[in-house]
């Protein structure tokens, strides 16, 4: 009797927890949409500049969100392309090659790295930029490249861990299929183990994309500013949506400005959704190419 009550209580509690989470998401997104939807229009993004000119990078936009959108895309693309190869390779090493004491030591270090607050990573990136500025070239200062590298460091532990765990969770019979057919260790990793754990790795990549797109602490110390327009190179300052949202919410001078912050938040959400969708399709294409191609 008690057992059955307990079963019901646990199930009910879990359901309530799920509903609270779902409700919160709906509240946040709904709140954003109610406040921000009205502000989203061509002017919010392109200001007074002709959209076609802006999209072709013929004219700079100084009174719209377009440079921040471009900056966010550039930032995510750069950081993810730095972090993904290194993170996945390190994850493969941890799961398939690293053993014994070394593995425990490395695991500890990756956990420490995962626990470092992003503001500290930002400070470190800033210090590196200053160091390079003082000792190598006075033309180096906090910029898109420094931000992207710092963000890459921020997301590396997630990538390593998700790759490692999805490989280590493969059941023994899948692990032994290819070796029993004469596969070398490397062949097994590339032909069977990686394709079988692609979805786990993809979730790590998706997590990092989200993290790179939303993080503010790192970029505000390493090169994000307002009103510089579209970045000209990886060595220049840039604008980014999260920084814009942070800046507007702390410095707005009238209601209209604050509302444009909500608009920016919606755009950031849409961008994240877009990037997730791209990651999802890339994962499926990859799985298809790795496994089904005749």
């Amino acid at each position: 009797m008690m057992d059955r009550v307990l079963e019901k209580v646990v199930a009910g509690f879990s359901w309530i927890c799920a509903m609270v989470l779902l409700g919160t998401v709906f509240c946040i997104v709904g709140y954003l949409l109610i406040n921000g939807l009205g502000t989203i229009n061509v002017t919010l993004i392109f200001g007074e500049t002709d959209p076609v000119d802006a999209l072709l990078f013929r004219k700079q936009v100084f009174d719209g969100l377009f440079p921040a959108i471009v900056g966010t895309f550039a930032l995510v693309a750069l950081s993810v392309s730095f972090a993904v190869p290194i993170g996945i390779a390190a994850g493969i090493y941890m799961a398939e090659y690293c053993r014994g004491v070394l593995k425990r030591v490395f695991s500890l270090f990756f956990d420490v790295l995962a626990g470092i607050p992003s503001i500290v990573v930002g400070l470190f990136g800033f210090s590196v930029a200053i160091f390079l500025h003082n000792y190598f070239s006075s033309r180096i200062y906090p910029c898109l490249l420094i931000s992207a590298l710092s963000l890459a460091f921020l997301v590396l532990p997630y990538l390593i861990r998700t790759t490692q765990i999805s490989l280590e969770n493969l059941p023994e019979d899948i692990r032994q299929t290819a070796p029993a057919l004469g596969a070398t260790k490397l062949q097994n990793i590339f032909y069977v183990l990686i394709p079988r754990s692609l979805s786990g790795m993809a979730s790590g990549v998706i997590l990092s994309i989200g993290r790179c797109a939303e993080d503010t602490a790192v970029i505000m110390l390493t090169g994000a500013v307002t009103m510089v327009g579209v970045p000209k190179s990886v060595f220049s300052n840039y604008e980014a949506l999260p920084f814009y949202i942070y800046y507007i919410s702390s410095q707005y001078s009238n209601k209209q400005e604050l509302l444009s912050g909500y608009g920016a938040a919606i755009i950031l959400l849409v961008i994240c959704g877009l990037l997730f969708t791209v990651a999802f399709f890339v994962k499926h294409r990859l799985a298809y190419h790795a496994l089904y191609r005749q």
Partner: protein
């Protein structure tokens, strides 16, 4: 049994950590026969099969003593000799697992997979070998029109025959089968039994089985593994 000895085992012991699973086994297996290995669960039957293709070596904390020699061509090879190439051993000693384990790819690619691993490129040779292997595994007629379908679309029995076909692609001389019918229904199991009898002609088969009636039907020799010892089973 007049057939020549194919596999010679001498003083084979096996340990997981300090737990002894196999204890000083000495045995010989004649070629072109089916040997069934019976015995209680969890007492090292699968481990014993894996000592013949060295598949246990990826398991940490496992250790083996003793000698295993297999006759390929006209002389015996010590398969644990560092100079004996592991991938060649695995190509000559095929293995089929308890639960069918096709890879998540097409039927054709599954069977061609060992050839890809061996670095074979010629498309015509590959498709010829795939067809031969599928025919030998009694599967060709059922799948010849849908070779590009996902292997998981096959029934359990068909999947197991697909795995046997995959193990046969490289023309192994020994086939290790770890309870190959235990996850299948009676009809699918009967097809596999018939298939094993037909494979005797080219291979030496070692099969772990739980079903004594199955063992009686197809095995030439039955051995019981218990308390780490491998002994000829009475009434076989």
């Amino acid at each position: 049994m007049d057939n020549e000895i194919k596999i010679k085992i001498d003083g084979l012991s096996f340990f997981y950590n300090e737990h002894r699973v196999l204890n000083n086994i000495t045995a010989g297996f004649p070629e072109h026969t089916i040997t069934a290995i019976v015995g209680p669960s969890g007492k090292g039957k699968t481990t014993f099969l894996m000592t013949l293709n060295r598949l246990w070596e990826s398991i940490s904390e496992a250790r083996m003593e003793g000698r295993v020699e297999i006759r390929f061509g006209d002389r015996f090879h010590k398969i644990y000799d560092p100079s004996y190439p592991l991938s060649q051993l695995r190509r000559l000693v095929g293995m089929v697992f308890q639960v069918p384990n096709p890879l998540p790819m097409s039927i054709y690619k599954n069977v061609a997979f060992p050839l890809k691993l061996a670095g074979m490129k010629d498309k015509n040779i590959i498709s010829g070998k795939v067809e031969t292997a599928l025919k030998r595994a009694f599967l060709w007629e059922e799948v010849k029109d849908r070779l590009t379908d996902n292997a998981f679309a096959l029934s359990g029995g068909q999947q197991q025959r697909l795995c046997i076909a995959r193990a046969l692609t490289l023309g192994p001389e020994i086939l290790l089968l770890d309870e190959p019918t235990s996850s299948l229904d009676a009809n699918a199991g009967a097809v596999i039994e018939e298939l094993m009898l037909s494979l005797k002609e080219r291979c030496t088969l070692l099969m772990v089985s739980h079903y004594l009636d199955q063992v009686k039907r197809i095995a030439d020799t039955t051995m019981e593994l218990s308390d780490g010892k491998l002994l000829e089973y009475p009434n076989s």
